[in-house]
Symmetry: C2
Subunit: 429 residues, 2 copies
């Protein structure tokens, strides 16, 4: 399936993409003025439409699955692509949950009065048009679309081509919700073609129509987007996260937090990837922490001191310090105190999420101040790096850049702001 034009017709693709951009921009203008009730109604209607459309979505998904199987895709890939009644229900639940979040648009985030009587307010506004580029996970169609809509943004979605039929069926239900609530179709658009040139067009910004790009997927997708995008990107490339067990750590707490940070789920971006143990506690800590990891099913790659603790530890090479395993593997080493730990994280980390375990408040304060990561944690698991765990309700991803959004990107982070000035005929001297 290649959508409404011939595959490989570059002129037609360009025209299609630019037209999507223009429609998104026009829809964004309508959405920016839509009432909270209207957006909530659209999302609730979309959730209902998704449940109702389950048979059609499953049929479309069967097409995608057949092609993916014929193409010899791996089992994990097939699993991510596969929908079921239960998964469609979960997708609809998620859209309904987003419908229920507080509407960020119009919220007053600061307010003060100048000596001349001028009252100044800073209020949230939508960002405009968001481009979301994702891999073959059909649920992202609904999740990302709903989050952008809640923040008053129009969105252009580009799915991995293996999920196009599934995504189109899900998208149709989203559009049904929009229509029912009187919002424009083009508030949530899906690129209706497998032509890979569509991604390049989006990264170019569609002639100024896209304000920000959010990639959702593996490292190669994110790397391409970060390298090629001509518009801002909310993303993280790596979550190479550290747990530093300080000399003043409570060992029981360190063990519990470390095992959770590494093993609760190994495939999420908040999972710990490197353990740093302070030399001041290494002799007592390593014999507790390393077997705890190993016994939980985690492979440990360590420096000489770590290897000496347990025969199951394999040697860590230079590469290990920079690797995001996303698997039951951890790199572990002994460091010479707080400064060395911070320096290691600065050298090898990815500015995502890093934690210190310590009972020493001063050491914790320095770690929190000096580690330059989006999320810095004292005495808790790195797996809290998640918009839901922050109380944001949902997230479109986690950003490690320093511009606009950093950390979990929820509906508030998908907004901009403007200033409102209230005078009484006030003029400037």
């Amino acid at each position: 399936m290649n959508g409404p034009f011939l595959a490989g017709d570059a002129g037609a693709l360009t025209a299609l993409m630019l037209e999507m951009g223009r429609k998104a921009r026009a829809a964004a203008r309508v959405l920016a003025l839509a009432s909270p009730a209207q957006k909530t109604a659209a999302l609730n209607a979309a959730a209902a439409a998704l449940r109702k459309a389950a048979p059609a979505i499953l049929a479309a998904n069967a097409t995608d699955l057949a092609q993916a199987r014929a193409g010899g895709m791996a089992a994990a890939f097939i699993d991510r692509l596969t929908l079921s009644e239960a998964r469609i229900d979960a997708i609809a639940d998620s859209v309904a949950m987003i419908a229920g979040l507080a509407d960020p648009v119009g919220a007053v985030t600061a307010e003060w009065t100048q000596p001349n009587g001028l009252r100044i307010q800073r209020v949230r506004t939508p960002l405009g048009v968001v481009g979301v580029i994702f891999e073959s996970r059909p649920n992202v169609t609904a999740d990302a679309g709903a989050l952008c809509l809640k923040a008053g943004n129009a969105v252009i979605l580009r799915t991995g081509s293996d999920a196009l039929a599934s995504s189109m069926a899900i998208h149709a239900a989203m559009v049904e919700g929009l229509t029912e609530a009187g919002l424009p179709d083009a508030a949530v658009q899906l690129v209706p073609t497998k032509d890979r040139a569509a991604v390049g067009a989006m990264l170019g910004g569609l002639d100024g129509a896209i304000d920000v790009i959010v990639p959702r997927g593996g490292k190669s997708l994110v790397a391409r987007v970060q390298t090629e995008a001509r518009v801002p990107v909310f993303a993280h490339l790596d979550g190479n996260n550290h747990v530093y067990v300080h000399a003043q750590a409570d060992l029981g707490m360190a063990e519990k937090v470390l095992v959770n940070a590494k093993m609760r789920r190994t495939g999420i971006c908040g999972a710990a990837e490197t353990l740093l143990v302070d030399r001041g506690i290494a002799e007592t800590a390593l014999p507790v922490l390393i077997p705890a990891l190993l016994n939980a099913g985690c492979a440990v790659r360590g420096d000489a001191m770590v290897q000496a603790v347990d025969g199951r530890v394999t040697p860590a090479g230079e590469d290990d310090w920079g690797t995001e395993y996303l698997d039951a593997i951890i790199a572990a080493k002994v460091v010479d105190g707080l400064d060395a730990a911070i320096a290691h994280i600065e050298r090898w980390g990815s500015h995502h999420t890093d934690a210190i375990i310590t009972a020493d408040a001063t050491a914790a304060e320095r770690f929190l101040a000096e580690v330059d990561s989006a999320i810095v944690i004292h005495n808790a698991s790195t797996q809290f790096a998640d918009g839901g765990e922050f109380g944001f309700g949902a997230e479109i991803g986690i950003a490690t850049g320093r511009m606009h959004a950093r950390g979990p990107v929820g509906v508030e982070q998908l907004t901009s702001f403007k200033y409102l000035l209230h005078g009484q005929g006030t003029v400037r001297a």
Copy 2:
């Protein structure tokens, strides 16, 4: 003067610029951890050094002025380039004032506790490295350098080549302040060459070393930066600002605010450029407002109704609605109510600053909500579009983009943020 290498040697320039980028990145790391007192001390020392260096700065300025005069530069250009004891004092005053601003870094901007006991804080951090590209106004060297430093950012300054000697002399005083306070020289760097290729190198981001570019200057500079920059830009291209006199306006207030908005200073980006008068009040308002503008020395270009009011009004052409005059000229027209006023502003405006004059609270509310500009004003002058007037102390410019900074960009807008999580051995379920 072409600095420490041969002009036109592209390889040497590239090497110089990349080295500046690396030094800036390293300095940014030190600055991010500098105490508020240390930054304040550096800026106060820089202010003192500027005053002490006045003779050297004036001598350097004389060189620039002689070259500019020999090059036949216009009088206004020469005026902006010219320094005097008094102007150097004003530059030093401005640096001292920035020294006294509240330090934004480390400020907690949000704080809450999750049901699991996890306490979450959002705290301000520096942005990193700022590139400032400006025209031949020597004072920007000190102002922009000081603002970036206060926010904990390293800065790379690129002056208009006609002001290079003056800027280098001012920069030397800034560096003296840094050294005195024990901060790295490279916290504030000035591109030491007139080679225009340096601008292109900065727009490319210096291999990831520059986080954001701020252009300070005329439209052609800003346009080039916005088009070519591969990094985020804080800027506005135009300040095509509107004053809309609504049908329910108090005419005395409208006259006072309008004349201030247009004529207080015509050359600033917050000056009004277009007057929209509601048809519902046009017959009584135009005979008051138009002569008031004309008598204040403002040329008026109007539609047929406006022309009919006073023989001095000339016809407005289509181009006038989109023009930022930055001069004693205004375009004026009658519009059919609030929706038409908002539509005109959406069609022709530049999303900078727009005002409504009305006694009708509902109309004001709609205008404030629906006009998509960085600053939207009710019953006050557009000339309040200024960081100082917002209480920000100082600004590096005004941004009309929707990403990160919007409106006046002061020290707070030159920061990013991170999240600090405080647990008690808290793990994720």
